[in-house]
Amino acid sequence: MNYLFLFRMIKTSVGRKQLMAVTGLLIASFLFIHLAGNLLLFKGEDWYNGWSELLIANPATIYIEIGLLFLFIIHITMAVWVRTEDLINASYRKYDMSRWHGGRTIGSATMLYTAIIILVYLVFHIIHFRFADKSIGVYQMVVSAFRSPLFVSIYIIGSVALALHLSHGFQSALETLGINHIKYNVYIKIAGYLVAVCMVFFAVISLYFYFGLDLREIADASNIVEMTIE
């Protein structure tokens, strides 16, 4: 057996980027499943708790979680490696007048900073939700957290950082894997921005509960009950 190609993947600049791209895309696809699950919060307590029980009951879940952990480790290791080299290189190019020529976007220029924000947010998110006390039910746990302005602002910052990260990350990953074609480039760009917009929905969900929009229907319903009693 010849494993050299795996080492070459890590040893070359392009290979490291390709590992980063593949793991990044896989993490992004996980985020869509995550988001789809979160949308059940709008459907109410039974639906969301049902989804959560489904995940806990499934024996594959734990292995998927371990897999995700490895994806994150690879993605972050490669990013730190690539970025360290780039920062060393950047220290050699100190222009007196520096300007950008239209290639850079807000997303691409802030990849490192959004990555750090996402990592901090992720650690907080996992400690707070994954390893939390779930005795009151997952739905109540999530909703009560979103009533706090501090939590909601953390979630907004996290998902906006995620959206910015993916606005560049999606098309960058495809480019790194060699997917760039004069016919499809514009669609890839649009798809990247759509993916980014989807990530904002995580913040929309937390805002929905912060402003108590879920209680409105219950309030309406109780009014109807009261009216019928009268």
């Binding site: 390709q18 780039d86 290189n89 290639g103 480019e175 060699g178 760039n180």
Partner: protein
């Protein structure tokens, strides 16, 4: 004619050699004719400086018609000047007006040590080419044209990438000092043509290996290189290189070896320059 003449202030990077510390020096340039090219303007200034017994500004140029890739420095933060998709020798003084302060600096990158003033050592790019930017042909008289059929679209695409003049503006503009657009263009140019097929696998693996060893950075797909390239080479070149690498790395059965001249000791940028 006389009334069209104007004057500007040039802030020029002066540096004795790679190891000395550089600084900016200001020169007042008078009597500039709008039809002058930027390099001609420096020529006029240099003649004046030489007559005054001062040291002239050192810069590199050869063909002065935008096809050789010899000239190149950064004008007001723009590699090759403010004009899009042209070399600095094609920049004309009509782009400037009376009283402008123009800053010119060399291309700055880890792999481009400064030789003097605005001249940088771009031999690192030659080393990347030597690692795989060639094809094998029989020696002797030139082979007949069109013995290997190449359709027009493929030929055009290869030609688009072959227009790379190796000026180094992509490296200068890249936030990470990566030479991906250059290496990508050279790989894509030969990968699209049937003549490039025999060395296809070896080429991409060797060129990327040498590129990495010379201290060029990683690509973060910011596309700054594409924006400043005087030959309008698209980042499709980088994608093609990535694709070639992916296939070469995973699908090739042979184990590529660097040619003997490319052992580590000779690849490194020589210290004595």
């Amino acid at each position: 004619m006389e009334k069209n003449k104007f004057s500007i202030t040039l802030r020029v990077w002066k540096q004795k050699d790679a190891s000395s510390k550089g600084y900016f020096e200001s020169y007042k340039v008078e009597g500039i004719i709008p039809d002058m090219s930027f390099l001609e303007m420096i020529d006029v200034l240099n003649e004046k400086l030489i007559k005054q017994g001062k040291e002239p500004i050192f810069f590199e140029s050869d063909c002065r018609e935008g096809i050789c890739g010899c000239c190149g420095f950064v004008v007001d933060g723009n590699p090759h000047g403010p004009d899009e998709h042209s070399t600095v020798c094609q920049l004309h003084m009509r782009r400037f007006k009376e009283g402008d302060v123009v800053t010119i600096e060399p291309f700055r990158a880890k792999s481009f040590p400064i030789i003097k003033d605005l001249i940088v050592d771009r031999s690192a790019l030659d080393k990347i080419i030597a690692a795989g930017g060639y094809i094998s042909v029989n020696v002797g008289s030139a082979p007949d044209a069109n013995t290997i059929p190449v359709d027009k679209n493929t030929a055009e695409k290869a030609m688009d990438y072959a227009t790379c003049i190796g000026c180094g503006a992509c490296v200068a503009s890249c936030p990470n000092s990566a030479a991906m657009l250059f290496t990508g263009a050279k790989i894509a140019h030969l990968a699209y043509l049937p003549q490039g097929k025999p060395e296809r696998t070896k080429r991409v693996l060797n060129m990327i290996k040498v590129m990495d060893s010379l201290g060029f950075g990683n690509c973060t797909n910011e596309y700054e290189c594409e924006a400043v390239c005087p030959k309008e080479i698209k980042v499709g070149a980088i994608a093609k290189m990535n694709r070639e690498f992916l296939f070469a790395n995973f699908l090739s059965e042979e184990e590529p070896q660097l040619p003997p001249v490319f052992h580590k000791s000779t690849v490194d940028v020589p210290e004595d320059e």
